[in-house]
């Protein structure tokens, strides 16, 4: 049985402390990224596109930028960064010599990955507001939803970390899973431009599709019943991968 107590907080807090110690470098991406993407794609390329389904192009991509940032920050936190802590720094070994259990270490890592995604979404919001590409107050919902979406990507990332033979092999999920999602999840062009089988595939197997869909509904705002399906999909996948990550990590670390 998986038993998780309040001690999980000490693991989460350790990562927050490390993040805040180097806050200057950590706080740069969420400010710079949306500016670069909006200028190059939104207002550069966007002048040829003008509108997508009646939405100005910068407004169309703004929620995708938040979704991508959450995906990257949570996924990479629980792949490369967690792997470094586990394998090179032996931080997990040090922690499990205390009353904190291995389940709590892994859960704390994933909750931290989700938190990092949420911090990034929070920092991006004012930038997007300055560009006038997201509506208020509905866009405040980006923040809590970033935690849920972040927890999903963190859990998927942790599953890969649990089975990877070494840090280099983490490049496989990064290029074969994350990069295609970055491009084909209704991020920079609407999904219905793609052939129907690929659309189905995107809805069935690419989590970012659901995240973008919900974030776009939040920032426009324009909610529809499909958002509820996406929310259910994300919630179910999060529970599944969260528990799977703990199982796989136990198998790797308990020897």
């Amino acid at each position: 049985m998986i038993e998780i107590t309040g001690r999980v907080r000490s693991v989460w807090q350790r990562n927050l402390d490390a993040f805040l110690r180097t806050y200057r470098v950590n706080f740069i991406p969420p400010f710079i990224e949306p500016v670069l993407y909006l200028l190059a794609l939104g207002f550069g390329l966007g002048t040829y596109i003008e509108t997508v389904d009646g939405i100005p192009y910068p407004v169309f991509i703004a929620p995708a930028l938040v979704s991508i940032s959450v995906m990257y920050s949570s996924f990479f936190e629980c792949t490369y960064s967690s792997f470094v802590r586990m394998y090179y720094q032996k931080t997990f070994d040090a922690i499990i010599a205390t009353p904190v259990s291995i389940d709590e270490v892994i859960a704390g890592e994933m909750l931290w990955g989700a938190t990092r995604g949420m911090i990034y979404a929070t920092l991006m919001l004012p930038v997007l507001l300055i560009f006038g590409v997201v509506a208020m107050p509905s866009s405040l919902l980006l923040i809590p939803f970033a935690f849920l979406a972040g927890l999903l990507f963190a859990s998927i990332g942790m599953c890969f970390t649990a089975i990877t033979p070494g840090i280099d092999a983490l490049n496989y999920p990064s290029f074969l899973f994350i990069t295609p999602m970055f491009l084909f999840s209704g991020t920079f062009f609407p999904l219905d431009l793609l052939p129907e089988p690929i659309q189905y595939f995107a809805f069935a197997a690419l989590p970012l599709t659901h995240v973008v869909s919900i974030n776009r509904a939040i920032t426009l705002p324009a909610f529809s019943p499909t958002n509820l399906f996406s929310l259910a999909w994300i919630a179910a996948a999060t529970v599944l991968f969260f528990l799977l990550a703990i199982r796989l990590m136990r198998r790797r670390l308990i020897v």
Binding site: R7, R14, D93, A94, I95, A97, V100, I254
Partner: protein, 257 residues
Amino acid sequence: MKMIQCVSPKTGGTLEVFGMDVDSHQREIKSRLGVVPQENNLDPDFSTYRNLLIYARYFGIPKHEAEQRAEELLAFMQLEEKRDVLIDKLSGGMKRRLIIARALINAPELLILDEPTIGLDPQARHLIWEKLRSLQAAGNTLVLTTHYLDEAERLCDRLVIMDQGKILVEGRPEDLIREHAGSDVVEVERTQKATACLTGLGVTYDVAGDLLQVFTDRPHDVARELLEVCRHEAAVTVRPATLEDVFLRLTGRSLRE
């Protein structure tokens, strides 16, 4: 060791720490243990002082209590000057001292140390020995594994020699030496003449590489006989027997790899 620390599952039999089963009472046992691992696993993202505070948090020690304890331990381990330095900037000996300080943060009833002085220079080793002895003097229980037999001889009240997972002997270091090696060792170069002489005298000896070793309680008699009766010309050394002699006699001289 890992099974005692409740981080590896028990492979068989029964194992109790503080009278509690290691499978069912992991948290209770771990909260009362201090562990000094062989491998350096200090947290490189933080300073010396914050390493102690963050570790205290894993035990659920309240912040003000942890701060006070961390300051005391830095003083005890002579690390105050390095209080705000990142782990990378510490020497090997300082890292080991910090790991010991970290293991003491929860005031453990039992301190487990795995090769606490491995790879350290003599000054650093002596400082750590001094600290461990003062912990012992204060009534703490230490369990220590080591390949350095001089370390075991200095620090241990009770010693177990193990080989390939089996206990060979156990007891106080001085008793083990007396029992398994005798008080002294006479060493001579391994020549045909010396071999013949010792055999002729009816003295039992061990072959150790290019040396012949006689373990005896009357070393001067043996040395005199070698020199006078056999007119042995090369050097004859007499020295007190050590734990290393006991270890090698019990486990043999072949490399164990």
